[in-house]
């Protein structure tokens, strides 16, 4: 596992850079679809522009942060119950 040539093609820095680029391109296209389609919201908020995109992003960031905060209080070494 020294030079890049020996690494699997999927984990070479070039591939990863390309994956990020195409990934972000895909995200942009998905949001732009909202420009062309008429919203049929069930409620008010889900008719806003790119609702599912920003909602997904925001709640996921919130959940990771919440889990992190909860972890401060509830995390223990995984040998915690070993003395049973």
């Amino acid at each position: 596992m020294t030079g890049n040539d020996e690494k699997h093609w999927l984990v070479r820095p070039n591939t990863i850079r390309l994956l990020w680029r195409y990934g972000i391109g895909l995200l942009v296209i998905l949001v732009l679809v909202d420009v062309f389609k008429e919203p049929h919201p069930y409620f008010g908020i889900d008719g806003t522009f790119g609702f599912y995109a920003w909602f997904g992003l925001v709640v996921c960031v919130a959940m990771v942060l919440f889990a992190k905060a909860l972890g401060v209080f509830l995390k223990r070494k995984d040998s915690y119950y070993d003395d049973e």
């Binding site: 992003l57 709640v59 996921c60």
Partner: protein, 556 residues
């Protein structure tokens, strides 16, 4: 007695006792053949109640067939078949015997039309599933199975008390839709919820399931929680409290899975999360919701088993299960990786997988009922599922860093079982009509509209984006997260120790008195040592419990 009076679950239960006495080859034939025979029987049964047995003044119905019971029995037998295929190289025959009894009783629960036989099958399931964990044979598995068993005995006790009160109230043993408004029905609901891993009795699942063998966990994930979903669907449709219970389970599952390091515990927490979706749907209780729950239970069993099969394959080949030890396995286990990813996409309800066509019916029913908050929370939870199971599991196990491990894909039978379930995940996602036709109510729902597909892709891909943005926050550590089981594993221990200490002090004081008395009376009292107190006290308590059982059973 005709064929339609024969409970199909008995094929597996009786067949289980053949497994240890036949040769390896015949055993393999039985493991694959018995579930198929069961499936054939299930589909040959006519609708209606059969297999009626009289017990005292009560009528027990062993074979009640309708669309709902047929759907659950079908997926249980498919699960037993694929799990059996996966477990062909399981050397512990005890595990397979208990799995077959366990699966047979799950099918038994699904087909019973009365509360008494339901309770009997329910309790045998608890014992058989305990033996699945116990059959690993380690000291750890012994302790874990004991905790698991106690949790289920507690649930079984609630259920039994509830059933007794219900029978005394109504004079009927029929199991049909009820409302949690009497002591009996509330206790029955509580008993059901313990098996659904609802709070506060949720930690038994993540405690016990990951400690079973590579194949045992696959079976465990399917039956206990899904029979609980079945009985809730049948018994408590539209009970509003279930919406709150379900939503709690959904987010509890996500948050704990995010914090977890053990790959099989991540998947165990995500079972609670998925069952939470179903429990919420049962609380909503409309025809659309009930269809959605039934469909979701069906697809969930398949993709969750698939996920645990891929995790089991990693465990089987490497002996490791912590994310901190794993990573980079995609290079040498390509098939396991692909199957794991298909399972992960299905659980996240990605378009063209089975989760997409089932879970969306539950969210749709919340929107139809104008339940704004519930709908928003379900949507947030869908994003969270992709976060904790859809990406986290495959990323940390198969990609992440290079752990240097180069295991190959598992033996052919395990690969075949994974491919079979991966194909079912995609097949159901592309042709949902076959599943929709089996649901209890007529389906007027079209999952594949452009709008729905775009919305779901936006939600999921942006959740994925969030995962990689937040990756530094997700670094795995060698930790566990305290859960409800802390109360009986630590706090309970502390209480027991201090009680023990009090008794010891008392004992010492008594001994001192005796010695003084003995000295005084010049008597040798060594032969009159009192027995150890804690054991004696325990025996008295157990005796009281058994006596009260006896008294209750005579009251029926």
């Amino acid at each position: 007695m005709t064929m339609s009076d024969f409970p199909p679950g008995l094929v597996l239960i009786l067949g289980a006792f053949l497994l240890p006495v036949v040769s390896q080859n015949i055993r393999s034939v039985l493991i694959l053949g018995l579930p198929l025979v069961t499936l054939g029987l299930i589909w040959s049964l006519p609708d209606g109640s059969n297999g009626v047995v009289s017990l005292f003044t009560y009528e027990l119905v062993l074979v009640r067939v309708d669309a709902l019971s047929r759907l659950f029995a079908t997926i249980f037998s498919i699960m037993t078949f694929a799990g059996g295929l996966y477990a062909l190289n399981q050397k512990k025959v005890l595990e397979l015997v208990s799995v077959f009894i366990y699966a047979g009783c799950a099918i038994g629960v699904v087909f019973t039309g009365d509360l008494i036989s339901l309770f009997v099958f329910w309790e045998i399931m608890a014992v058989a599933s305990t033996v699945v964990v116990l059959s690993v044979g380690s000291k750890l598995s012994y302790r874990v199975s004991l905790r698991y068993f106690l949790a289920h005995m507690f649930g079984g006790g609630l259920l039994m008390a509830g059933i007794l009160a219900f029978i005394l109230d109504s004079g009927s043993v029929e199991f049909s839709a009820m409302q949690p408004n009497t002591l009996g029905t509330v206790l029955i609901l509580a008993g059901f919820l313990v098996n659904a891993a609802a709070p506060p009795m949720s930690s038994w699942l993540s405690d016990a399931y990951p400690e079973a063998s590579f194949s045992g966990t696959v079976f465990l994930s399917a039956f206990t929680t899904k029979t609980a979903v079945y009985v809730l669907l049948r018994g408590f449709p539209g009970a509003e409290i279930l919406i709150f219970v379900g939503l709690f389970m959904i987010f509890y599952g996500i948050i704990y899975a995010l914090l977890e390091n053990d790959m099989r515990r991540i998947l165990a927490y995500s079972i609670v999360n998925q069952v939470g979706f179903m429990v919420t749907g049962i609380g909503i209780g409309t025809e659309m919701a009930m269809n959605g729950v039934a469909a979701h239970a069906f697809t969930h069993i398949i993709y969750k088993a698939l996920l645990l099969m891929s995790a089991g394959a990693v465990l089987y080949m490497t002996g490791k299960r912590k994310c901190t030890d794993l990573g980079g396995l995609f290079q040498s286990m390509p098939l396991t990786t692909i199957c794991g990813i298909i399972g992960a996409l299905s659980i996240s309800s990605f378009p063209f997988t089975s989760g997409f066509i089932s879970k969306s019916m539950i969210s749709q029913s919340a929107a139809d009922e104008s339940m704004f908050v519930v709908w928003m929370l379900l949507l947030a939870a869908s994003a969270g599922v992709f976060l904790h199971a859809g990406i986290k599991f495959p990323w940390f196990v198969f990609f992440q860093k290079d752990s240097g491990l180069r295991p190959t894909d598992p033996p052919w039978n395990m690969k075949l079982a994974m491919v079979l379930f991966a194909a079912l995940c995609i097949g159901l996602g592309i042709w949902p009509q076959y599943l929709y036709d089996m649901l209890p109510y007529p389906v007027a729902y079209e999952p594949y509209t452009v709008a729905h597909v775009v919305k779901m892709l936006q939600l999921l891909l942006f959740s994925g984006f969030a995962f990689f943005l937040m990756l530094p926050f997700m670094k795995r550590t060698l930790t566990i997260t305290l859960d409800f089981d802390w109360f009986y594993r630590k706090l309970g221990g502390v209480v027991a120790c201090s009680l023990d200490w009090v008794l010891k002090v008392q004992h010492q004081a008594e001994m001192a008195t005796r010695t003084r008395l003995a000295n005084y009376a010049k008597l040798d009292l060594r032969h009159f040592e009192p027995r150890s107190r804690p054991i004696g006290t325990m025996a008295v308590i157990m005796l009281l419990i058994f006596l009260s059982y006896l008294v209750f059973s005579l009251l029926v």
